[in-house]
Amino acid sequence: MRSTVPGRPRPLADLLASNRLGRLNRVALGMIALTLILLPAADLSITVRDPWAELQRMTGGLLTPAFSQLSAPLEAIGLTVAFALWGVALGLLAGIPLTLLFHRSRLIRGLCAALRAVHELFWALLFLQVFGTSAITALAAIAVPFAGIFAKVFAEILNQLDPAPASALPRGTGRLSRFLYVEWPQARAQLLAYIRYRFECAMRSSLLLGFVGLPTLGFHLESAFRQGRYHEAGAELLIFYLLIAGLPWWGHRRLLWLLLPLSGWLLGPWPEIDPSLAWRFVSQDIWPPPLLAGDPAGLVQWWSRLPALGPAIGNTLLLALMGTAGTLLVALALWPLVCRHFNGPVRRWLGAGALIVLRSTPEFLFAFVLLLLTGPSMLPAWIALALHNGALIAFLVARQADELSPGLPGIRGLDLYCWELLPRIFPGLLALVCYRAEVIMRETAILGILGVATLGFQIDAAFAWLHFDTALLLLIITCLLNLAVDALSRRLRPERSLTAASCDSPGPPA
């Protein structure tokens, strides 16, 4: 706290006042202020009596993982990797054409936003109705939203390239030729880094798919955790952490040519598809029954039976806002943990471990632990979202900070943080947080255990009752909400300061 001694310059205040960063800071402070203003509307009560017995059982189990109790660890690990790898590959296959059309058509941009807006779990629940618990469901559930994400981020990366080579091309050059000759060679490093980062995200998605019944590590983890077999859950979590930590080695580009076919082999056997199922799903299941029967009175009744939309939308937006602001604060606090400017190799290694745990642990698990500590309210959801996403961004931002070299010699600690590094990485950090707002909104969906009735909570309920018409309506509302948030975050986000990629590019840990 040396820098706050009276008489000394106050770097943070100066940072806030400086012109270049003024707008960014207004965005950040505005977001935090709005969160504070709305906080009374959020249900944040703490009602807990004696969480210690359960927490003790849990920590005991997690700290003494029982690998012998795993049912089929090798197959589950293999499938977790296979779904992630092939999901990303297929997502790229669909995402690159969408990238090329992204800036040409509003329709394509809308489509991509819609694909992104739906959580992987909900995509999986949709595909499950037609493809059952097969690899097709898993791959589609990852590839479909990822295609939308790739399209958006890639289009932004390409948009920020030097336009000179493209404009030098002869008139009438095909879009794909332009991509191959001009854009890909220029943006290669950025795109590859982003794909690598997305692969880690896909591993998390793949784990999550286990929660709806696909045979990944998540399948076993969810059962073990839900039923209180914490020793087994500990073993499964540990395996997953190691997978993520080892990603730069086993997921190296050179090994991909081996991994892809090998893991592809695991995906089979492919199910027999009944086209009539798909037809029934799109022609009947997703439409309100009174609409199909041509019964207007019934339609009114159908509408009145829908879950309360107002509170669901309100809760979703409020939780997303709180989650985003919390993410910003957590990221600001955590990134020095893994930054080379603040730590020696040992401490950095420990910090990296801590961040891997925070960002790889499924939110529902955080939520469960926090639920024990605080009781049911928005509070555990808020903390879970902020910790998970904050750790993710902290990691990316630290990579960016590692590449900077401080100009002032001998500057250390808080001074280094405030004067040298923060001003330079702040635009990037804020850009990432704005990107993440969209993801956070999706993630509010899977915290139903907390009894916070977000849109996702209601969608989950609709799926549980096989009311696909309700689910679809709620999903469409989610998409529209997402489009609005996307438009807003694009307006607020620092322009041109940084693309997703230049920061979303965790290289291998140094």
Partner: protein, 229 residues
């Protein structure tokens, strides 16, 4: 019959509040077979004029942009090949990216040898010197094999001797050539006509036979910018 004509045309950037007029109400006609040098201080509006004429001429003119616009990560061969990217199918372009096509390779190699960069065909452009890059950009424009040529300072980073040789190569192969440059001597020796731009208008448009070096120098004299508004 003029090849291309601008009649009282105003060229501007941006729209609405951000509209910034670069060249105000200019008139100009370019004849087939003419070799025209375009002179003027940096920022006078040469590039804007060239861009506008490129829009008029379309693919009838080869195009050599300012700052070359090369793709650093690709080889010299691929950068030159890009001159004809629109004439081959995407599939063929993709194949050629992975494995150069024999015919195209021969043609590019011949052109590059002529320009003195025949040895560098496989070298990524980012490893080349400024002068070498200029030649790659010129090679790419020549490879387009168009009737006419529009060049925005294509010889800015080569020495005068080389510049003269490159200009000869360019003018030999094209009908009408409009080339922006700063080397006034070369403008007088290698062109039929000079267009000079100053303060947002065409200050000079004469056959070279009527011009002296001093008249051209005048285009580059310092001037105080008019107050905006």
């Amino acid at each position: 019959m003029a090849l291309v004509t601008l009649q009282e045309t105003t060229l501007a950037h941006g729209r609405g509040r951000h509209r910034h007029v670069v060249l105000d109400s200019i008139s100009l006609a370019l004849q087939p077979g003419e070799r025209v040098a375009l002179l003027g201080r940096s920022g006078a509006g040469k590039s804007t004029l060239l861009e506008a004429l490129r829009g008029e001429l379309g693919n009838a003119a080869a195009w050599c942009p300012q700052g070359q616009g090369l793709v650093g990560a690709l080889s010299v061969y691929h950068n030159v090949y890009m001159g004809r990217l629109e004439r081959t199918s995407t599939w063929r372009n993709l194949r050629n990216l992975l494995r150069p096509e024999h015919h195209a390779w021969e043609a590019v190699a011949e052109l590059c040898t002529l320009l003195g960069i025949g040895e560098l065909l496989r070298r990524p452009v980012e490893q080349l010197s400024g002068g070498q890059r200029s030649r790659v950009a010129i090679a790419r424009a020549l490879y387009q094999a168009r009737p006419h040529f529009l060049g925005d300072e294509p010889i800015a980073s080569v020495d005068p001797h080389q510049g003269a040789r490159l200009l000869r190569l360019i003018t030999e192969r094209h009908g009408m050539c409009l080339i922006a440059l700063h080397q006034r001597e070369l403008a007088l020796t290698h062109f039929d006509r000079v267009i000079g731009i100053e303060q947002g208008r065409i200050a000079l448009d004469e056959p070279t036979s009527d011009l002296t070096l001093e008249q051209l120098d005048a285009l580059y004299r310092p001037w105080t910018p008019a107050s905006p508004g």
